[in-house]
Symmetry: C2
């Protein structure tokens, strides 16, 4: 554990407001939000300016103290949890919470790392704009964390991941120098794109302190539809049809299996299936338009669905008649995780494969997992258009001790699912990153060239390994 | 100069077809296409498979022979010209010229590095698709070179630079290992984005051998308009108005000064101004739509321009009545460089600044340059929506010896223009990269943190400096 003499040095630099040492105040920040990883830290440092972060990093380098950067602590892979031996301090970005500027004219917001996603949403909305990335943890997740994990969400089909929305970046590098790349240039070919390297680096190369983020016009009108189909293959046909006829106004395209829908209908009071026919698979589609002069996304979505029914792609369909119905449709999607959890213990995978291979993967990998691990049931739902689904393997019915089941079966099932993903040319981390949870699997399933490149870059930026130790980069013994 | 013994080793590996040593055959490839840089090479190596490129790189590493990767040799910054001392060999990608696959369904083409851009255009068109990046050198420029320079062009406003169009990448790293990232995953968070690092790296970190490229629907209809405005400021107002009313269908938005237009009308036979009113500035707009059901981009563009005239933004406007007129409008834009050259010697800058600052920059930097270098005239034209203009400083009237003028004044004018760009928060290389031409200026005008990061990455990937030596990374004496 780091001693008082070292804490005193940081307190002298940051003042008492910038250093938290009360164990009760620290406790919520040393475990991850799913409660799977538990660490320890003698203090949380929370500088409130880029200059002070730079000074903090310089002092940490001088003292050889590793730093674990932390935003809203909503990592799904233990990416923001400090080591359990107390050898590191937490560097919290929570006091870096200013929106430095927001220009509707330029469609640009300059935000500090600690700005909470929903705060940015509201600020943009107030000026007739929208920051088009959203996810469940939006009330806690911060801009810095979203950038450092290249977060996704439900609007990636249309607007891309965080990577596509960051126009400029400011960060403090491991030697304390400030990388000043906030200028939002649409074209800039001055050598390697350091900004892209820092996005998704999980705080292992630099501490993101601020970013220039792209805004889009607020949604003027939206149409939300529900379609019942026979298979994920037909869902992909529907996606291609809507892309062709509705173009880029398709903002959401979520695929749900009928049994998963059943969990929601059984578990969440007041929910009902949007369509009357019982079909094996379902698709939730949202079509948006920012232009009030548009004849109406509703009519266009109706046309596309009618065409899909004529072609035999869609079996039944409904379009939300009003905003309340639209919200009811989305509520089903947003309740999937909760309803699944209510079914009992499950292992959940955040994976991606090429879009064209996704329909077969959804069906075949689920069947293969059920066959390999008798009694389990497997299913998937999610963003078909991104090639990214949430793939779940549920414990056999009646399993009461979830942790024991996971301890006994987890590693084998993980390996089985990840092998299937790699065989399909996919990624074992679509949205959540590697953190500490997937580090060993990354090592096992990556080419030596990729691992060597990751390590070489890490060493080039952070030769003493002081930024977010134990995350992302496979340990030496992990090959 | 590299000796015969070494050439023999490569010939044993690649066969006689893979090694060119005839000086006449080599000559066109050792000077850059503007004839400003002249190098020497004892041989051009041209392996025809990724495996053979890997073997070539391994042999070069064993022998300590630097390699200069080369596609169409259309670099504007001497980026593909070998060193003049003959210490390196050229690694040509021209035999890597297969389109491995092209799927209209998946909107994806997998191309080898040596595929010429216009060949890809034609292949996509044949399947009702389009690769939405185009530039003057499309008949020579290759996919590998376009990726390695993160090329731009006239469609960036809508579709982004090459970086936005590369979904997957295959490359050979300096140790000969193959980075296999061709799988086109829309979401993939497995650590640092090596693909993004290789894009725009000018062949200094890896040899791009193939890429998965994003296609879009072919254009069904287009409308091309011309608007006369008072100032670049008004042009920006027009851009914002069209973005609001026409959304993302605005595919081209080019700004041209009236005197520059005058050069075209005077120099290119058969050209005429699309509008009758003489205005200080002009805007060329293209609105596209891939959907035949669209009521018509022409009507929508007409509506937007009418609205802009009502608001006093636009002074006069015309819309091409047919495809021939549309081509005539674009011909003016495409003749700008040629007509400018006919005016006499000039220094041309490929620069960017934030879009909002561009109107002031265009006016003020030109005036400042003319004041600082009496007799010169300065002007700019280009992609306002990208914050990227081609800024030209022409020699005083009557200057007959261009090279002498450039030798005498070039360095001072370069420094003056680049200082103005940096003061506006811009980039001294918007589209063309650094190569050898802008290496010293990059060193002079970048923060130590950026230069240190560039060097650290280079050393991490290529510790012996064997990939494209002398390009991009500032030399030790350049600070």
């Amino acid at each position: 554990m780091i001693g008082q003499d070292i804490i005193d040095r940081f307190t002298a630099l940051l003042g008492p407001k910038g250093v938290t040492t009360n164990p009760d105040d620290i406790a919520p920040w040393v475990s991850d939000w799913r409660g799977r990883y538990h660490g320890a830290a003698a203090a949380i440092l929370s500088p409130d300016s880029t200059r002070l972060i730079s000074e903090t990093v310089k002092l940490a380098a001088e003292l050889g103290v590793p730093l674990v950067p932390q935003g809203g602590n909503t990592s799904m892979v233990g990416g923001a949890t400090p080591p359990s031996d107390g050898s590191a301090l937490i560097l919290s970005l929570r006091r870096m919470n200013r929106i430095r500027s927001l220009s509707a004219q330029d469609n640009l917001a300059v935000c500090e790392a600690g700005v909470i996603l929903s705060v940015l949403h509201d600020a943009a909305q107030a000026q007739g704009r929208r920051f088009p990335l959203s996810l469940g943890a939006k009330g806690s997740a911060t801009i810095g964390g979203l950038i450092s994990t290249n977060a996704g969400g439900t609007q990636v089909l249309r607007h891309g991941t965080m990577r596509a929305l960051v126009d400029g970046l400011e960060a403090v590098l491991p030697d304390g120098s400030i990388f000043d790349g906030l200028d939002a240039l649409k074209k800039d070919n001055r050598g390697y794109d350091i900004k892209q390297l820092l996005i998704g680096a999980e705080g292992t190369l630099g501490i993101v302190t601020a970013a220039s983020l792209r805004l889009v016009p607020a949604i003027a009108t939206r149409a939300v539809g529900w379609a019942g189909v026979d298979s994920p293959e037909q869902a992909l046909h529907l996606l291609r049809l809507t892309e062709k006829t509705l173009g880029e106004s398709v903002e959401g395209f979520e695929v749900i299996a009928d049994d998963t829908l059943g969990f929601v209908l059984g578990h969440i009071p007041g929910t009902r299936s949007p369509i009357e026919t019982r079909t094996p698979w379902h698709v939730l589609i949202e079509v948006d338009h920012a232009d009030l002069a548009d004849p109406g996304p509703g009519e266009r979505l109706e046309g596309a669905l009618a065409q899909a029914m004529e072609q035999g792609i869609v079996l039944d369909a409904a379009i939300a008649a009003n905003e309340a119905q639209a919200e009811a449709f989305w509520r089903i999607r947003e309740s999937l995780s909760e309803s699944e959890r209510a079914q009992g213990p499950a292992l959940q995978y955040d994976i991606s494969v090429p879009v064209a291979k996704m329909p077969a993967f959804m069906v075949e990998a689920a069947a293969a997992a059920e066959a390999a691990f008798p009694g389990t049931t497997a299913s998937s739902f999610g963003h078909l258009g991104d090639g990214n689904v949430h793939f779940h393997v549920r414990a056999p019915k009646g399993t009461s001790d979830g942790p024991a089941w996971i301890a006994a079966q987890g590693q084998s099932i993980n390996a089985f699912v990840h092998d299937a993903v790699v065989a399909a040319g996919g990624s074992i981390s679509a949205e959540h990153g590697i953190g500490q949870m997937k580090r060993a699997e990354l090592a096992r399933l990556s080419s030596p060239a990729r691992i060597a490149a990751l390590r070489a870059i890490k060493t080039a930026f952070d030769p003493h390994g002081l930024f977010n130790p134990g995350k992302l980069i496979p340990l030496p013994e992990e090959g």
